[in-house]
Amino acid sequence: MSDSPTIIDFHSHIASEMCFPKSFQDGVVENMTVALESRGLPVTREKVARMHAGTLTDPLCDELVRQMDEAGIAESVLLLPDFTYALKDSTHTIEELIEHHRVVVERHPGRFRVLVGVDPRWGADGLALFEKAIVDYRFDGMKLYPPCGYKLSDELLYPYYEICAQYALPVLSHIGATSPVLDFEIAQPIFVDKAAKDFPGIDFVLAHGSVHYPDEVAMLCNNRPNIYVDVSGYEAFGVEALNKLFRRGINHKIIFGTDWPVFRLQGRQLSLVEKLEKEGAFPDSMSAADRDLFFHKNAARLLGKNKLKSTVAGTDGG
């Protein structure tokens, strides 16, 4: 790839079973098993689970950094969704998971940022924990996971949004289907609208928007100045939808993301980046400047608004 890495991967996770409760993984495995059985293969759930677990073997992100270097990815944004309220088989508390993300960030200086999730139903303790992660650990924004059981415009989230607005931090939310152990209907993109209107100073990023509800997501991006879309998930559903998204006049809103390690069985980060060009993700109408926006400038613009980092580092605004 490039000699000087410039790509920002706005959607990645730490590849460790500690971050994904067993019930969440079991749901994913169930879907894989059904698909493999339909091919007439001698499948067992236990073996599919072992294969899936083989993708969650990089708890300190050492392998991810190697693959980022190969792929020309300068920085990855680690997303920490809080499953611990909704899924009671979580092996670690959200506080422990936040601490682990801090360890990873410090282990690889300059390579990772964190958008941190705290389920809004944890009450005052959860809010304090979130504020600590933002102010003391200098994490870069919020990660939300509505399938856990809340809408993006739920007023329980507003104190969190106040903090994000105060420091000009982005909020990224999963939208659409996920592990079948969680709810799908509540994760529709339109539920961001009230929050985006009430908090015009927050940039909201709808994850997987090229593959889940693409028409609704494009409508929101076109009409709300502070709504963006990340394209993670293109690996599973082909790049045709992405090509269409790039022709909808919102290239200043579209952000690159891989969803590492979800598609690890599909190849290294380099091949996931190369797949875009190779399979025709970029329409002829797309300029080089638009590609720069997609691969890093849109992400850098959102991350660069962070008032805490710009205050401290002076030059560390992006």
């Binding site: 493999l36 073996k47 677990a53």
Partner: protein
Amino acid sequence: MMDKGLVSDDEICRLIASVISKAAAKKGVTPEKSLRGDLGIDSLGLMSIVFVLEEKAGIDAFSQVERFVGAEFVSDIIKIVRQS
């Protein structure tokens, strides 16, 4: 089930071809082909390869999960089968 010591490279390629798309298989499965770039193998495709190798080539594929996750080329798969 075949004896893994007797499974030839060609046979491993044939087993891989049996579980990937017809279009990819038609291009020919050979050791130098990349699994994703040349053969278009996705997550389920890779899992299918592991299952079929376990069933037909008699290897304990699931003790080699991390190696399969890291496999890039058909030759890597052949190497895993040989060393299993």
